[in-house]
Amino acid sequence: MTVFSDPKYPGEREGQSPSHRSDRANDPKPLLDIQNLSVAIHGKPILKGISLTIGMGEIVAITGESGSGKSMTALATIGLLPHGSDASGCLSCNQDDLLTLTEPQLCKLRGNEIGMVFQEPMTALNPVQSIGDQVAETILIHTNTPRAEAFKRAAEVLTRVGLPQDRFPLSRYPHELSGGQRQRVVIAMAIALRPKLLIADEPTTALDVTTQAQILDLLQKLVREDGMGLMMITHDLAVVSDMADRIVVMRHGEIVEQGPTRALFANMQHPYTRALFEASRHQAALEDKPGGSALLEVRSACRDYRTPRKTLFGPQGSFRAVDDVSFTINKGERVGLVGESGCGKSTLTRAILGLEPLQSGAILLDGQPVFTHGNTNLDVRRKMQVVFQDPYGSFNPRHKVERLITEPFHLLPDPPIGTKRREAVAEALTAVGLHPDDAGKYIHAFSGGQRQRIAIARALIIRPELIVFDEAVSALDVRVRAQILDLMADLSRDYGLTYLFISHDLSVVRSITDKVMVMESGRIIEQGPTASVFDNPSEWYTKSLLEAAPTLPPATGGGDHAADPTL
């Protein structure tokens, strides 16, 4: 693109190493200067005296777990704190003291001087407006550009973010685009006026690994080309390890450590930073187990979905979501299933659980079909349980934990009652590291990680032969994720558990499975022992997945690695 070839401000250009650029942190006039910023919402402190700077052309990553205050820092910077917030300290961007500006002044700044990209591209765009309207709007509200000119510039910006006009005309609506493409539109809106500061709040968390890599590349390229400062919020250290100039680690509304990326990774001072780092690369201790007889057999399974008619009375089309898939899981095996969204993972899962019929092929558990006579085969169904991704949405908030985790009992012909039932509840809760007394509490009393433990207890309580983990740790913070993975390894040892672990996160699959299957466009294109598939992938697609997956630099942290008891 040549449209924006003249730099608006003297930012730094490509070819400079992060260590050079990080000198910018000492620049006397950084682009964004946050000093001693505190924010309280309805009197409750959320940010406690944080100080950080971002220079022009500099990428600063803010990382930490949920509730650490990283998103609040971003919202404070763009002046969009929730109602009832009270901010104090100094927050200046390009010489403007943002905390003293009036709302109309802030409106002039947002989208013009400071752009922002959000986490969830699927919902970040207005569904009833075309992408051209939405990108042009940024230009129209801040400048006196005529409409036609604004749309021409919107087209240029969209091309610049990788949505060329011949394939993605301005008249497209968000629902016609994939998640990655929508995120590009959001980025186009944010950079249309070439802001000095770009804030990206978990911009790739909801995306597949390959799309994530593309979006990260795009952000990096735009920042380098325009000399923007980039505040990148992420919970995943690996995502920013080869991109950020500096890293800021936050916890409970405070900055615990910050510094140039390489130096920070080389010498982590704070135990919390080390804990985060360790948890990100955590390997659960899986014991080798001899594979038993075949438990789950999937034979040439095909699953078709009907697509809408092309013409009013035309024939209905069909889409093959699962295409001739065959595999076997033996008793005691721990198998991973990886692939990008839309590859058919979830469809295959539903078929395995007997929730949907197959068009051809068969799925057998212990030699019996999971789906018979148009219904789930309950004899088989009670031997399988599932743990879902969202620990917040998968529980009825009006039931107590006891009722929640005993729900699978209705699958049994003679469910335990009285003392036996209470014993079963206590045992399941103890097995997942909770206390038997927790049975009397409601779900809102538990954190995300505890809820996922309860979900596992619910799956365990009827002693299933197979547990399906469907993205079961994807929504968790890294340290909680590490604990849940350890729990799975323990349960696998103690209960001889067989599980199918479905995930888009390759590093997690590697740490928790013996065998892995790679799925693409409804087919299993590669399967084998986890270590050999990851180390020597034979398919191009597997290689591209592995290359796109962000990795952490090797551990070189300073200090001792003893766990901090206060964490």
Binding site: E103, C107, G111, F118, P127, V128, P308, L312
Partner: protein, 315 residues
């Protein structure tokens, strides 16, 4: 879009066919003889037989259905037993009152409800919101016939701005007709506006919590701009549904208001016909109302597609 249109149109035709069959079955095939029902329990057998012949009840049912449905399509609704005039003419006369009245009331209700709902949503929890919500509570709670009588007392009897009732017809021009319909339209519109304003407010509040509203703010739109440019259109779907329901209700449900203002509308016609056991009129008017409801739903469906591009794509 064209496919969506035809799909909706097909569904409209099928609904009409099913509705006509159901109405026919309920009125004509239900236990009891329509002729003896219409004449009452003291009727002479020969009178009943004569009416049966006149109504065509002596031919097979499927022939009667075809004749009735065919007549509906061609605009021949039969002859009223009580009034001895063409039902089509009677209905057409009444429709000239009821249809403008319903449209008038609906326009008023929308004009009141949209600003009120948007205003309340924009000031959620503040005094303005509380005032609007309080007013809508009252609007829903006040019986509209009482409100109609208050309107008559104030504007017709005290201020003498309007007539207390009656309808001069459209022959005298548009204005006198509209003037006669103004008080009834206000009386009808008030509760509808109150409901619609509440729906608009809650729908808009849902939208205000959406991620794309935050995106709009991050672009530099003020709260109010974001509300108007991105919020209102997204909030319209539930509002359109309610508008469709309200129109159907206003067309036939204005019986009480028509009584209060002595308006010769459809509601009064159906009320009188039921009292006089004139099944032919009842059947025709009910079919006409069903037709109106289905057509309004069709129009609402089209409006959805205009508002929301995703619906166009999904068809």
């Amino acid at each position: 879009m064209l496919r969506y249109f035809f799909k909706r149109l097909t569904s409209l035709i099928v609904s009409l066919a099913i509705a006509s069959l159901v109405i026919f079955l309920v009125v004509e095939v239900a236990p009891g003889d329509p002729a003896s029902y219409m004449l009452g329990i003291n009727a002479q057998p020969d009178t009943v037989a004569a009416l049966r012949a006149e109504l065509g009840l002596d031919v097979p049912k499927w022939q009667r259905f075809l004749a009735w449905a065919g007549g509906m399509v061609t605009g021949d609704f039969g002859t009223s037993y009580t009034y001895r005039t063409s039902v089509s003419q009677m209905v057409a006369d009444r429709l000239w009152v009821s249809l403008p009245l319903a449209l008038y009331a609906l326009t008023l209700s929308t004009l009141i409800a949209f600003p009120a709902g948007i205003y309340a949503a924009a000031r959620r929890g503040k005094a303005g919101d509380l005032a609007v919500m309080g007013a809508t509570q009252l609007g829903v709670a006040i019986p509209n016939f009482w409100f109609a009588m208050m309107l008559v007392l104030v504007f017709a009897i005290n201020l003498r701005w309007f007539n207390a009732g009656g309808f001069p017809g459209w022959e005298g021009g548009l204005l006198p007709g509209l003037k006669a319909l103004t008080l009834p339209a206000i009386a009808l519109a008030l509760p509808q506006a109150a409901i619609l304003a509440r729906v608009m407010r809650s729908s808009l509040l849902d939208i205000l919590g959406e991620d794309f509203m935050r995106t709009a703010r991050a672009k530099g739109l003020s709260y109010r701009q974001a509300l108007w440019k991105h919020g209102v259109r997204n909030a319209l779907i539930p509002v359109l549904t309610i508008i469709g329901l309200q129109f159907s209700f206003l067309l036939a449900g204005a019986i009480i208001i028509e009584q209060v203002f002595y308006l010769p509308g459809l509601g009064r016609l159906i009320f009188q016909s039921i009292g006089q056991r004139d099944l032919i009129v009842v059947e025709s008017v009910v079919m006409l109302l069903v037709f109106a409801v289905i057509v309004v739903n069709f129009l609402v469906d089209l409006a959805y597609a205009i508002v929301d591009p995703r619906l166009r794509a999904r068809a």
